[in-house]
Amino acid sequence: MKPMTITEKILAKHAGVKEVTPGELINAKIDIALGNDITAPIAISEFRKAGAKKVFNKNKVVLVPDHFTPNKDIKSAEQVKILREFAKEQKLTYFFDGGEVGVEHALLPEKGIVVPGDLVIGADSHTCTYGALGAFSTGVGSTDLAAVMITGELWFKVPESMKFVFKGKLNKWVSGKDLILHVIGDVGVDGALYRSMEFTGKPIEKLSIDSRMAMCNMAIEAGAKSGIIAPDAITKEYMNKRAQRPFKFYESDADAVYAEVREYDCAKIEPTVACPHLPENTKKVSQLKNITIDQVIIGSCTNGRLEDLKVAAKILKGQKVAKYVRLIVIPATPFIYNEAMKLGYFDIFLKAGAVISPPTCGPCLGGHMGILAAGERSVATTNRNFVGRMGDPKSEVYLTNPAVAAASAIKGRIAHPDEVSK
């Protein structure tokens, strides 16, 4: 048999064929299809227009109205109502609302709804997050979602794979977020267009699942179809507690073919910032002097997980947020919210002067719960810093890891964590 990458193996399995080749068009069976309060209303409308009566499998269509939760206005409440009524009608197993809703790409892995070896599509571009578990997962639009809701299948062009090999040891305060920002800074916002990004090397094998998710989450910011990390003992431990279904580990053959291989020496990677207005505009934190800020967001499907809140709490302990700066902490799911509370992080955040938001995508996409005025500047642990992304088109967003975000909140300017914590 010809050698294949992990991505090619998962796609071949779901297409019911022995092997696939990059560029080939396949029709594949979908394990999980996801929609949110922005994208699912159009999918549901297309589903009905096509005359469909039932989803292909009530356990495999997942709806998470997370973007404007708690409903920010009448229109967004109407959108969620469409999802809620559809979930009731179709008796969907996985619909999350009220106190159960969390940011979709933190919620689905945490609940064990997506598992290693899966083929997942989501009408949300950050669906690529689940590559961190060794699944093939990719973002699609609403019409694609509608097609899957009806048939359980979708067409794909098998992507070429691009291998990113990390070497050496991570510097202090460097997390998965810095590695992926570094890569995007290197290849550009279309540097992996249509491709699958495979992250490998000893430092990756040591990364937590939370950090791996932050990496795969931002594969789309390099234009990629997917990001993926080979599952291992760390994945197994994470899944054993959660998996709702049996799972399967795939790995790339040693002689698999890659369109490109890039190597990075981690000794050279420092805490990294993506400056406005593209994720590829990266700089080392140490290169940025006196960038004063108005707001800090710690949350999102990139960095709203427990590891992220833990490092923020470590830095903020006994400290105060700078005057005239708003720090908003958004635990990504109700479980993370509860754990952070039990671990005492909320005391630290509140004493520092932070706002603690319920789980939501909220400000990341300029929805609500922390919108910027013209001329304002925010540091955010989110994934996009496009023009107008967090509010007024004249506002600015700087993307960082949670440690840099916390340090910056204390200093009132972009700051290195070493400046406030040893």
Partner: protein, 162 residues
């Protein structure tokens, strides 16, 4: 299919937040979305765009979010087609699925200015800049995507399959 239209020219990496900002995504009504199309890139676009106009852009048009609202807003604004050097993959897929005409060309962007009149032949892929008197040929649409268009989009092709 052949048509003529006036050009709106934009640069590289026009993201979906520029095409339709998320603050307007609390609805999926095409008419509402069209009112805010391209707002954060060009605030005058939505009020001045005319039916049949053409957007010409540099590389990676439509990068960012998976929101189908982006091609929906462009189509509802009256734009006949988009011609870019390349497209972000979800936007590319969405456009075919919902029926926005898009073409890829490396040359048109450099040889065209805003306000120029283009003639586009979707069948042959020939794009003529009538203002400047130059012709170009777009990259051919992959056969699979052509079939999708012929079937009337993804949902129609599914209905036909039964």
């Amino acid at each position: 299919m052949k048509f003529k239209g006036r050009v709106w020219k934009y640069g590289a990496d026009i993201d979906t937040d520029k095409i339709i900002p998320a603050r307007y995504l609390n609805t999926s009504d095409p008419k509402e979305l069209a009112k805010h199309c391209m707002e954060d890139e060009d605030a005058s676009f939505a009020s001045k765009v005319q039916k049949g106009d053409i957007i010409v852009a540099d590389k990676n048009f439509g990068c960012g979010s998976s929101r189908e609202h982006a091609p929906i807003a462009i189509k509802a604004a009256g734009v006949a087609c988009v011609i870019a050097k390349s497209y972000a993959r979800i936007f590319y897929r969405n456009s075919f699925n919902m029926g926005l005409s898009i073409l890829e060309s490396d040359e048109v962007h450099g040889a065209t200015d805003s306000g120029d009149e283009l003639e586009v032949d979707m069948d042959s892929g020939v794009i003529t800049n009538l203002t400047k008197g130059k012709s170009f040929t777009a990259r051919p649409v992959p056969p699979f995507m052509q079939e999708l268009i012929k079937a009337g989009g993804l949902m129609e092709s599914i209905k036909k399959r039964g």
